[in-house]
Structures are given as structure tokens and as C-alpha cells.
């Protein structure tokens, strides 16, 4: 008997039943095929403008920094300003999906691609941003490599206001509708941290030391 059969048989034996009848299996398959939210807190609901403000407030609470700009064209300048204020070199690695922005025009040296060891700053888009907890939902694709979210010391996320939703379930709904399910989906809530030494909270564990959000109100 294979381990698989033994485990599944063991489960059924403990539950004192056979393999489920076709009707029951179909009902469960329908539950999987048509998922629906179970319980969405009030905090994850509201009018779009209120949700954008809530997202911004919650993101700052998670110790991300945040700048708001009016127009997508303002993003490279906002990133350049953030780097200058932080005393960092004007070098970024961006998701290929963002390669079309005018980085050079803002005085930034930009490379598009996956992160390499030593890359100081990454700039990525996000699929949705969740107001409930100030969380950004990033999804991988050829134009959005995963390493950009974790390897560089500083991660800058461009959040278009139209992408802000109330709750995680809203992001799931939109992601399911967007087509093939991505290889990785990450909810990012603040910069990396640890409290493993004497429960002292320190930012910048193995992932980015800083998380900066550029919120684009007019997009």
C-alpha cells in the first residue's frame, strides 16, 4: 500500500466513513470553484476615497514611509527625492513592468530585471493594496520578479490609488479574475523585522530594512 493510500484510508477510517459519495464530492468541488468571503471586518469596507486614506494611515503604522503624488508621471521624481533625503545613491533596479517610466529624467540610474546581490534599492508595482492593514499584494510574473521584494535593502512600492481595496478578499476576487494564478503572491505589511533577541523589535532582518510607498492619487 502506498503512503498516499494509507494516509487517506487512515483519515476515512478515523472519520468512520468511506470515500465521499459523488453528490457530496460535487458539493465540495462547487465550494472550491465558487469561493466567497467568509467574514470581512468593517475596517475592510468603505468608499474608495476613505479606503485610500485608511490604507495610507495603516501602512505608516506598520513603519513603512509614504509619499503621495498626483500623477503617474511624478513617480520617478518622488523616488529620486526619497533616495536623496535618505542620503542614498540614485541607483535603482525596477520591475520590467515599470521600465517604461522616465527614470533617467529624474536623474536615476535604473536597471530593469530581477534583483542581484548588492542591489540597494528596488522599485516595484503592486497588484492591489489592502486598506484593512496597510498591506500590499504583489504578484509574480515575467515582468515582476519576486527577488525585488526581498533582496534589496530598500523596497519602494508604487501604489496606484485605483488599486486600493478594502479587504484581502477583494484582492483575491480581482486576482482570480486576472487570469492564470501567479506563482507567488505576497502580502507585504511593513519592512522586515525580528524580535528574536530578547524580544527587542528591530527593523531590517533578512528582507528590506525600509519599505517606502509612493501612492499615486491620480491613477
Amino acid at each position: 500500500m502506498t503512503a498516499r493510500a494509507a494516509i487517506l484510508d487512515g483519515i476515512r477510517r478515523s472519520l468512520r466513513r468511506d470515500r465521499l459519495a459523488p453528490a457530496e464530492r460535487n458539493a465540495l468541488a462547487r465550494r472550491l470553484a465558487q469561493p466567497s468571503p467568509v467574514l470581512v471586518p468593517e475596517r475592510g469596507q468603505g468608499e474608495p476615497a476613505a479606503l485610500v486614506d485608511r490604507f495610507a494611515a495603516m501602512a505608516v503604522e506598520t513603519q513603512a514611509s509614504l509619499a503621495r503624488v498626483a500623477d503617474p508621471g511624478d513617480v520617478p521624481v518622488a523616488v529620486a527625492r526619497f533616495l536623496a533625503e535618505a542620503g542614498l545613491p540614485a541607483t535603482v533596479v525596477v520591475s520590467p513592468d515599470l521600465a517604461g517610466a522616465d527614470w533617467a529624467g529624474a536623474g536615476l540610474e535604473a536597471r530593469a530585471g530581477a534583483a542581484r546581490p548588492g542591489d540597494p534599492v528596488s522599485v516595484t508595482p503592486c497588484f492591489r493594496a489592502v486598506a484593512e492593514t496597510g498591506t500590499m499584494v504583489v504578484a509574480s510574473a515575467p515582468g515582476r520578479p519576486t527577488t525585488l521584494h526581498f533582496l534589496p535593502d530598500i523596497h519602494v512600492v508604487v501604489v496606484e490609488a485605483s488599486k486600493v481595496v478594502g479587504a484581502y478578499e477583494d484582492a483575491w476576487r480581482d486576482l482570480r479574475a486576472a487570469g492564470e494564478w501567479p506563482r507567488t503572491v505576497t502580502w507585504i505589511t511593513g519592512p522586515s523585522r525580528t524580535a528574536d533577541i530578547e524580544q527587542t523589535l528591530l527593523l531590517g532582518a533578512h528582507g528590506p530594512r525600509r519599505l517606502h510607498v509612493v501612492l499615486v492619487d491620480g491613477a
Partner: protein
């Protein structure tokens, strides 16, 4: 991991006399409990979410075979592979086979209690493969060659001097006299050291907080980002999970994720929650070429359908541990296996056997705080009592305790005798205490008086006092 739960009493005694450990435990109580309470107070729907979380897990457990098969089919559909393992032996072998095929010499590991459960690190080492723990706490205890003392904060029993000592010994290529007094300096050093391992590893092994049947995704929840680097950079990603980790849909997962971090660390959400689905796809610039999920049973399927099924709802938040007065007094190592505190005292006897772990269900005051804070409302005290009953039925209880219990049970069934006995005892003990109100030493009660005074009775039983007051 080889259990030493049978030595609980000796271990606990040692722990109670370890001032360093007592400091660490005091800090834990002040930290986690306060933060959890604040996070819960901020979310009005928290109690309703607990009910919803319980319902999601109960539904899944009742149809566990279906959801595991559905999960497996989705993993296969997205290019990954599921490996089933009845026990630790089969799980270790599955991991080793994958590592060997990949020609692996170094593997990085995210924090996985299942990895601890099956003793994966010593096994890999014995087979010529070097495992490197990447979670800071796990890395520290790996350097010190000791097991975790807490399922969320594995190095909670240590202070900064222990960490500095371990780093000075392990990172020999660094300057010997460097300043490692501040946690910041230690973290920065660990971050630099770990970067080398992240890039060099051939295989990355992570645990799973959940498995999603809807999409075939595995879920990890971390604050450090180490788990993501572990599963993204090497060519092969292996996920270690157990059968009860599966949930039906992403929406079901959202319910449990709202409960998990709040109950664990008091965060609204942990920093990174990542859903991984299959290996690298055409055109992807990063990600592993292979995606394997090892699904381990190791005794869990036996818990279904019986008095311990509810334990399989556990989402490993450690709230019960953080709120347990016994854990708070003796720490995690005393429990002698991977899972300490109330959840461990229920789970360990089920997984390693009651003969080994019979002391654990007794190491509880049944105060009920664990159940009060459990995000999925596991009736932990009730299950501790079930283990005590089984212990008695199987004659695992020592003869002296059995005789004592039998005498008590006989008296309890004969109220007149019981009342007379307690009257004599209350009167006699009060006389013996000679007005001091307490005993520093009392024959037959030395297990108590060895470590603390025993309060003397008031001279009259409750029933006597009650009757007198009613009359007056």
C-alpha cells in the same frame, strides 16, 4: 527530535532554578500578552472571526481526504509534486531523495516545527548535507545545538550574551574583538552571514502555515523575510507540511490569517505572507525550478473522529503557550519535545505516546486561560483531562497516586465519611500549624513543602462554616 518528556519533573525543577530563564520568561509574559490584548481590542469582529475560524477548520477536518486530494491535484496541475509520508522516516527519506537528485550540498531552511518534529537537520548532516537555519532565532539555537523553546520565538530562553557568544564562536573569519553588545550589531552580522548562505544553497526547505486546496498553494508567514529568500533563490523548493494544514479556499485562509498574527505577536498581520504555487514559469526571471510538497501524517490521522480531533484545528500561534502559567514558570525545554505549553501537552502524547509524555497533561492547573485565548477555540483543558483519564485507564499513573485517587474516589462516593474525614483533617492540621497559618515542612506533602510553604486550613471545613453562618 528525540523526546525527553518523561523527564519533565526534573527538567522543570532545573528551569525553576535558572535565573536567566526566569528573566526571559518574565519578559515574554509582559510582551506577548499585552500586545495580543491590544490587537484584539482593536478589531471588533475578533470574536466572530474565532467562530468563523473554528468552522473553517472543522469543515476541512470533516472532509480532509477530499481537500488533500484536491490540493494534490492542483499542485500537479501547476507543475509541482506532492510526496506523502506516513511518518518521520518516510518524510526524511523523501526530502533526502529530492536533495540527492538535486546534487545538494547546502540547504537553507525556513522555520519549520515539522522539521524539528522529524529531526531533519541531524538526518541531513548524517547524509553529508549541510542545513542552515535562516530564521534568526532558529539560527541562534542551531549554532548552540539546542531545540527551540517556543514555536514562534524559538530562542526566547536566551539573552544577548548567549547570542554574542554563539556568534563569536561560529563566525571565526570575523574580527575577534568586535563589539557584539547590542542586538542591532548581532542582527546585522547575522544578516550578512545569511546572505552568503541564501545565494549558495542548492535547495530551500520551508514549512507551511497553510495549504490551499483551491489553488494548490503553500503559505508561509514570516516577519524576517528569510522564508521568502529560502524559497525563491535555490533551484529547488521543498515544503514540509502536515495533513491538517490544508484549508479549502483563499477566502478561508483570510479568516485564519486575521487571527494568526494578532494571537501570536499582537501584530495586525505579519510582515510577509506568501502564497507559492508551483515552480518557475516560462519567462520568469527568478524562482525555483522544482516545487515539492511533503505531506506528513505522523499520527495525526489517528486523532480524527475522537476526543482529540479539535486539536487539529491548531494554527500554531502560541497564544496558549504565552498565556500558560506553567509554561511561564518552566519555559519550553522542560516539555522535552517540539511543542510546549498547553497545545504541546495535548499534542505530544498523541504523537509520541502517552507512556513517554504522561507528565505533560498533568502539568496544568486547568485554569482555562489557554482556551480563552485560542483563536480557533480548542478546548485544551478538556483534552488535558481526557489524557489524564487515559493515563489512569492504562495504568500509567504511579501506584501511590492510584491508591490515593482510589481512596479519594471512595470517600467522594460516601459523603458522611468524606465530611467526617475533612473535619478531622482541617481541625488536626490547624492545630499542627500552631497558629502560624502555614507549614514549612509536612510529612506526606513534601513534594509541595520542598519548594514553598503549604497554607494551613482554617480549622473548620467550608461546609461547617457555611452551616454556622446560615444559623447565625
Amino acid at each position: 527530535m528525540h523526546p525527553t518528556s518523561h523527564a519533565f519533573k526534573a527538567n522543570a525543577d532545573k528551569a525553576l532554578h535558572d535565573p536567566g530563564l526566569q528573566d526571559a520568561l518574565a519578559k515574554l509574559k509582559a510582551g506577548f500578552r499585552v500586545k495580543r490584548a491590544a490587537a484584539v481590542a482593536r478589531l471588533p469582529e475578533f470574536e466572530a472571526l474565532r467562530d468563523a475560524g473554528r468552522a473553517v477548520k472543522d469543515h476541512t477536518l470533516a472532509h480532509l481526504d477530499f481537500y488533500l486530494e484536491a490540493f494534490e491535484a492542483k499542485v500537479a496541475e501547476t507543475g509541482g509534486q506532492v510526496h506523502w509520508a506516513r511518518d518521520g522516516d518516510e518524510a526524511r527519506k523523501a526530502v533526502l531523495d529530492i536533495c540527492r537528485r538535486a546534487g545538494a550540498r547546502t540547504v537553507t531552511k525556513g522555520k519549520s516545527m515539522v522539521g524539528e518534529e522529524i529531526g531533519l537537520n541531524p538526518f541531513l548532516e548524517a547524509n553529508g548535507i549541510r542545513p542552515v537555519e535562516t530564521d534568526l532565532g532558529e539560527y541562534i539555537i542551531q549554532l548552540r545545538d539546542e531545540p527551540p523553546s517556543h514555536i514562534v520565538a524559538p530562542a526566547i530562553h536566551l539573552d544577548r550574551t548567549h547570542v554574542a557568544e554563539a556568534f563569536l564562536k561560529a563566525h571565526r573569519q570575523r574580527q575577534a574583538g568586535r563589539d557584539l553588545t547590542e542586538p542591532r550589531a548581532m542582527l546585522d552580522e547575522a544578516r550578512e552571514e545569511m546572505r552568503v548562505h541564501f545565494h549558495a544553497a542548492d535547495v530551500g526547505i520551508t514549512g507551511a502555515n497553510m495549504l490551499i486546496a483551491e489553488t494548490g498553494s503553500t503559505v508561509i508567514v514570516t516577519n524576517e523575510g528569510n522564508g521568502d529568500l529560502t524559497q525563491t533563490l535555490p533551484r529547488v523548493h521543498i515544503v514540509l507540511a502536515t495533513i491538517e494544514k490544508v484549508v479549502p479556499t483563499l477566502d478561508d485562509a483570510a479568516v485564519l490569517l486575521r487571527l494568526l498574527a494578532r494571537s501570536a505577536t499582537g501584530q495586525e498581520l505579519s510582515v510577509y505572507t506568501t502564497f507559492s504555487t508551483g515552480p518557475r514559469r516560462p519567462g520568469d526571471l527568478d524562482g525555483p525550478d522544482e516545487f515539492h510538497v511533503v505531506i506528513l501524517d505522523n499520527g495525526r490521522s489517528n486523532m480524527l473522529g475522537g476526543e482529540f480531533q479539535d486539536m487539529l484545528r491548531c494554527i500554531r500561534c502560541a497564544a496558549c503557550i504565552n498565556h500558560c502559567p506553567v509554561y511561564g514558570a518552566v519555559g519550553g525545554h522542560a516539555y522535552g519535545w517540539v511543542y510546549p505549553g498547553p497545545m504541546g501537552s495535548v499534542l505530544t502524547p498523541a504523537l509520541v505516546g502517552l507512556a513517554e509524555a504522561r507528565d505533560l497533561p498533568n502539568a496544568s492547573t486547568l485554569c482555562g486561560r489557554c482556551e480563552e485565548v485560542c483563536p480557533v477555540r480548542i478546548p485544551l483543558p478538556r483534552m488535558l483531562r481526557h489524557w489524564r483519564e487515559r493515563e489512569f485507564e492504562r495504568h500509567l499513573t504511579p501506584p501511590r497516586d492510584r491508591i490515593g485517587l482510589k481512596i479519594w474516589a471512595f470517600a467522594a462516593r460516601h459523603p458522611t465519611l468524606y465530611r467526617m474525614g475533612t473535619r478531622i483533617a482541617a481541625w488536626g492540621l490547624a492545630r499542627l500549624a500552631r497558629g502560624k497559618g502555614r507549614f514549612a515542612d509536612l510529612p506526606l506533602a513534601r513534594a509541595w513543602t520542598r519548594t514553598r510553604d503549604l497554607p494551613a486550613p482554617a480549622g473548620k471545613t467550608f461546609v461547617q462554616q457555611w452551616t454556622e453562618r446560615r444559623r447565625s
